[in-house]
Amino acid sequence: MPPRSNIRITARVVGHIDGESVNASGVVELNAGGTIRDLLKQADRALGVKKQKPFKRAFRQGVRPVVLLNGDRIELPEENDRVLSDGDEVSIILTLAGG
C-alpha cells in the first residue's frame, strides 16, 4: 500500500469574535483529498488555538463569514466539500459594514 500523502494548507481567521479582535494563521496538514470541512475541523487544534477555537467560533457569530480560497470568494456551507490542494490558502473573515 503506498504511503498516504499529506497536503499543507495555509489557514487564517481574521475579524472580531465575541467582541475581541482575532487574527490567527498557520499551516494545517491534511490528508490528500481533504476538504474545506476537514480543514475547519482540524485548524484550531493544528494551529495550537484549540482553547480559543477561532475557526469554530467564526461560524457561530451569526454574521456570514467571508471565506476566501486563494483569494477568491467561496460560499459556505454550500462548498464545504470542496477538495483542497497542496499549498492552498483559506481565509475566514468576519466583516461588518458601516461608516
Binding site: 465575541d18 454550500e78 468576519l94 461588518l96 461608516g99
Partner: protein
C-alpha cells in the same frame, strides 16, 4: 444650567429661522402641528422647505440655493442617540438633492436656541457668521475668521461666546468652494458629503454659533425617560448576559443560525461590542481582506494588492495604540468615538478624532498606503480644512492612476511622483487640493469635474456616481450598496440601506411590513435583485425616519431594539402606528426624489455606477472575481418598490396622493390634473 422645559412642548420648537444673506435680515416661520406630523423634523423639514422655497434650475453655488441646518424631532427630548443635525441644500457635486449629517453637540445647542431648523438664502458681500441663542439671532462680521481652519475657528468663537457655544463652520476648503468641502463641528467632526461646505462658502457664511438654553418640552416626559432607561439597560444587559454565558450562548445561537429552522441571528450585539471597543476603525483590515473595501482605485483585490500584513498596519489595533480617551456624542451610550494623540513619527498631533473606517480606507486601502502616520496627518489636515476624506482619497486615487498611465506627467504634478502608496506625495497632493494650488485646483471639485478638464480618457479612472465619489464599500461585495449608490436621491451613500445594514437593523421587529433578512445567501441569491427592492425601499424609509428624529443610525444597528416609534409618540403625544411612521419616512424619501426630478435628474440615468463599481470588466482575482453587477436590474427592483417609472423617474400619481403629496403632482405632471 439649561433652563427648564416648556411644558406645552411636543418635541419640536415650532419655529424655523430664515436668514437672508443679501439683505442681512432674519425672519421666522412658525409651522403648525400638521407640518410636523407630515415630515417630523430633521431631513424631513429640509426636504419640505427646499421643495417649497426653491425654484428648479438654481445654481448650487449661487444666491438662490437654500442651505439648511435641521435638528431632529427627538433631539434633546431625552431620547438616546439623538445628537445629529442634518445639513441640506442643492449639491454642487450632483446638481440635485444634497444632504449630510453629523453628530457631536451642535444639534442640541441649535435646538436649545429655540429653532427646529434654519435656512440661509442669498449671498453675503463680506464673511459673516450667525450667532443665535434663545433670545434671538444675528449675523456678525467674520472677517477675522476667514482663512482660519475649522478647529481654530471653533476655538476663537468659543472663546468669544463662552463654552456653552457650539460651532458649525467651514474651513479653507469651503472658503475656496471646493465641491468636496463639508461643514465641521466639535473639533473636526464633519457633515462631509454632498459638497455643502462649498455652498456655505459661496454664501460667505463662515460659521453658525448656537448658545441656547431653552429645553424643548415633550408630551410624556416620564414615558420617554422610561423608554430610554429600558433601552439603555437592554444595551448593557447583553454584556452581562454574555459575561455569564459567553461562548455557550453564541455557540448555541450560531448553531441555530446554521442548522435550525429558526432565524436567530445576533450580529447586532457583536457590532455593538466592536463599535464600543474600536469604533468603525475595527473594520479596516478585515474589510480590505474580505472584498468590502475598494482597493487601488477600485481595480485591485485586497488579498493580493493590500494583504493583511499591510492592512493591519492601519487596522483597529494599530489605531487603538494612540487612543487617549473614548467619547460619545450627545445622548449616546455607545461612545464609538475616541481622541488620539500622536507623539511618534514625522507628524505629531496633540489631539485628533480617531479616523473613521471610511477615512482609513479612502486614504489607505484605496491608495495602497499603509503609512498610519501619514493617514493620521491627512485626517488632521482634512478635518482642519473641512474636506470630505472619502472624496479627497478618491480624487488622489484618480490622480495617481492618471499619473501611472501617463495622462498626468511630473510637469502637471509640480514634480510629485504620484505612485501607489507614496505617502509623501499623497500628503503633498492633498495639501495642494486644499489650497487649490496647481494640480490641486483642477482636482478640488472631485473626480468627475477633474476628468472633464483633463480629458484624454481619464474618465476611465474617475470613479463616481452622478458626480459623487462612492464610499468605501464595494457593491460587488454587498450589492445592496449598489442599489443605494445608484437609486438614492443623494447618490453614493453607504449608510442608507444595504443587505448588511438590513441584517443589523432587524426592521421586522419594529414594522409589520418588513420581512426578515435571509440567514444565508448563495451567490445566485446575492446577485438576484427582483426580490430585494421592497426591503431596500423600506430600509430607505426607515433611514429617513432615523434622520427626521435626528438620531444616529448606529443606534439602530447594535441590538437592543431602539424604541423609535414609542419615542416619537411619547414626545409628540400622537398615537401613530408603525405603518403610519413608515408612510412619513416614504414621504420624505419621495420629496427628496422629487427635488431631483424637478431638476431634471432621473437617478437610473444620471447616477450611473462607474464601470469599475459594477465590475465591468470583471476583476480577474480576489473576492469579487468574475462578478459583474446589473445596475438596470437593481434600478428596476428599487423603482418598482418606490412606484417610480423607470423611463421618467416619476412616482405614480396615486402613490403621491396616498402620501398626501398632492402639491408634487402639479409640478411633476403639469398637463394632468391630480389622480390622472
Amino acid at each position: 444650567m439649561a433652563s427648564s422645559r416648556n411644558v406645552q412642548g411636543r418635541g419640536y420648537m415650532g419655529k424655523i429661522l430664515f436668514a437672508d444673506l443679501d439683505s442681512g435680515t432674519i425672519s421666522y416661520e412658525e409651522p403648525n402641528e400638521d407640518f410636523y406630523r407630515t415630515v417630523l423634523g430633521g431631513v424631513g423639514i429640509g426636504a419640505k422647505v427646499l421643495w417649497d422655497h426653491m425654484k428648479p434650475g438654481a445654481d448650487p453655488m449661487g444666491p438662490e440655493n437654500l442651505l439648511g441646518f435641521t435638528t431632529g424631532l427627538l433631539t434633546d427630548t431625552g431620547a438616546l442617540f439623538a445628537g445629529r443635525f442634518t445639513v441640506v441644500g442643492k449639491s454642487p457635486q450632483t446638481g440635485g438633492w444634497g444632504d449630510a449629517n453629523c453628530g457631536g453637540y451642535f444639534s442640541p445647542a441649535l435646538k436649545r436656541s429655540g429653532v427646529d431648523a434654519l435656512f440661509f438664502r442669498g449671498e453675503s458681500h463680506e464673511p459673516v457668521y450667525l450667532y443665535l441663542d434663545e433670545k434671538g439671532a444675528e449675523l456678525r462680521d467674520a472677517a477675522d475668521l476667514w482663512g482660519k481652519d475649522t478647529i481654530e475657528t471653533e476655538r476663537t468663537l468659543r472663546e468669544r461666546h463662552g463654552k456653552r457655544a457650539q460651532v458649525a463652520c467651514i474651513g479653507p476648503a469651503g472658503e475656496k468652494r471646493s465641491y468636496m468641502a463639508g461643514i465641521c463641528n466639535d473639533g473636526g467632526r464633519i457633515a462631509a458629503r454632498s459638497g455643502l461646505g462649498a455652498v456655505m462658502g459661496s454664501k460667505k457664511l463662515k460659521a453658525l454659533v448656537a448658545a441656547g438654553r431653552m429645553r424643548v418640552g415633550v408630551s410624556d416626559r416620564e414615558r420617554i425617560t422610561a423608554l430610554s432607561q429600558a433601552f439603555r439597560r437592554r444595551l448593557e444587559g447583553g454584556k452581562g448576559f454574555k459575561r455569564v454565558l459567553g461562548d455557550r450562548l453564541f455557540g448555541f445561537v450560531g448553531w441555530l443560525t446554521r442548522k435550525g429552522p429558526f432565524y436567530t441571528r445576533q450580529p447586532a450585539d457583536l457590532f455593538r461590542l466592536m463599535m464600543s471597543k474600536y469604533g468603525t476603525a475595527s473594520m479596516t483590515a478585515m474589510s480590505a481582506e474580505s472584498g468590502d473595501s475598494p482597493v487601488k482605485n477600485w481595480a485591485g483585490a485586497g488579498y493580493t494588492d493590500f494583504p493583511l500584513t499591510r492592512s493591519q498596519k492601519i487596522g483597529a489595533e494599530a489605531v487603538a495604540r494612540y487612543e487617549t480617551r473614548k467619547y460619545g456624542c450627545f445622548s449616546c451610550p455607545l461612545r464609538c468615538g475616541a481622541a488620539l494623540r500622536v507623539t511618534d513619527g514625522p507628524y505629531p498631533i496633540e489631539k485628533m478624532h480617531r479616523p473613521e473606517y471610511e477615512t482609513l480606507c479612502a486614504l489607505g486601502t484605496l491608495l495602497l498606503n499603509d503609512d498610519l502616520h501619514a493617514i493620521f496627518h491627512l485626517n488632521d489636515l482634512l478635518n482642519r480644512a473641512g474636506m470630505d476624506s472619502i472624496s479627497c482619497g478618491a480624487t488622489v486615487a484618480f490622480a495617481i492612476e492618471c499619473f501611472e498611465n501617463g495622462i498626468l506627467s511630473k510637469a502637471d504634478t509640480d514634480g510629485l511622483e504620484l505612485r501607489w502608496g507614496n505617502s509623501d506625495a499623497i500628503i503633498d497632493l492633498a495639501e495642494k487640493i486644499i489650497r487649490r494650488e496647481g494640480l490641486g485646483d483642477l482636482l478640488a471639485d472631485g473626480v468627475k469635474i477633474a476628468s472633464q478638464k483633463i480629458g484624454r480618457g481619464s474618465d476611465a479612472f474617475a470613479v463616481h456616481c452622478g458626480g459623487m465619489e462612492p464610499p468605501m464599500h464595494d457593491p460587488k461585495f454587498d450589492p445592496g450598496f449598489g442599489m443605494a449608490y445608484l437609486c438614492e436621491p443623494a447618490p453614493s451613500r453607504h449608510m442608507v440601506s444595504s443587505y448588511m445594514l438590513l441584517d443589523l437593523e432587524r426592521l421586522e421587529r419594529h414594522f409589520k411590513r418588513a420581512r426578515k433578512t435571509p440567514a444565508f445567501m448563495t451567490p445566485k441569491e446575492r446577485y438576484r435583485y427582483d426580490n430585494k427592492g421592497e426591503a431596500m425601499a423600506l430600509g430607505s424609509f426607515f433611514r429617513m425616519l432615523v434622520d427626521c428624529g435626528g438620531l444616529c443610525v448606529f443606534g439602530t444597528q447594535i441590538g437592543g431594539d431602539m424604541p423609535l416609534i414609542q419615542w416619537f409618540n411619547a414626545a409628540t403625544g400622537w398615537d401613530l402606528s408603525d405603518d403610519e411612521y413608515l408612510v412619513i419616512g416614504e414621504r420624505v424619501e419621495q420629496l427628496r426624489h422629487a427635488f431631483n426630478l424637478r431638476e431634471g435628474i432621473n437617478p437610473v440615468r444620471d447616477f450611473r455606477l462607474h464601470p469599475r463599481i459594477i465590475g465591468n470588466p470583471p476583476l480577474g482575482k480576489g473576492p469579487a472575481k468574475g462578478v459583474t453587477l446589473d445596475p438596470d436590474a437593481m434600478a428596476q427592483a428599487f423603482y418598482a418598490a418606490m412606484g417610480w417609472d423607470l423611463a421618467t423617474g416619476k412616482p405614480e400619481p396615486a402613490r403621491l396622493e396616498r402620501l398626501g403629496l398632492n402639491d408634487l403632482l402639479s409640478v411633476l405632471y403639469p398637463r394632468h390634473g391630480p389622480g390622472e
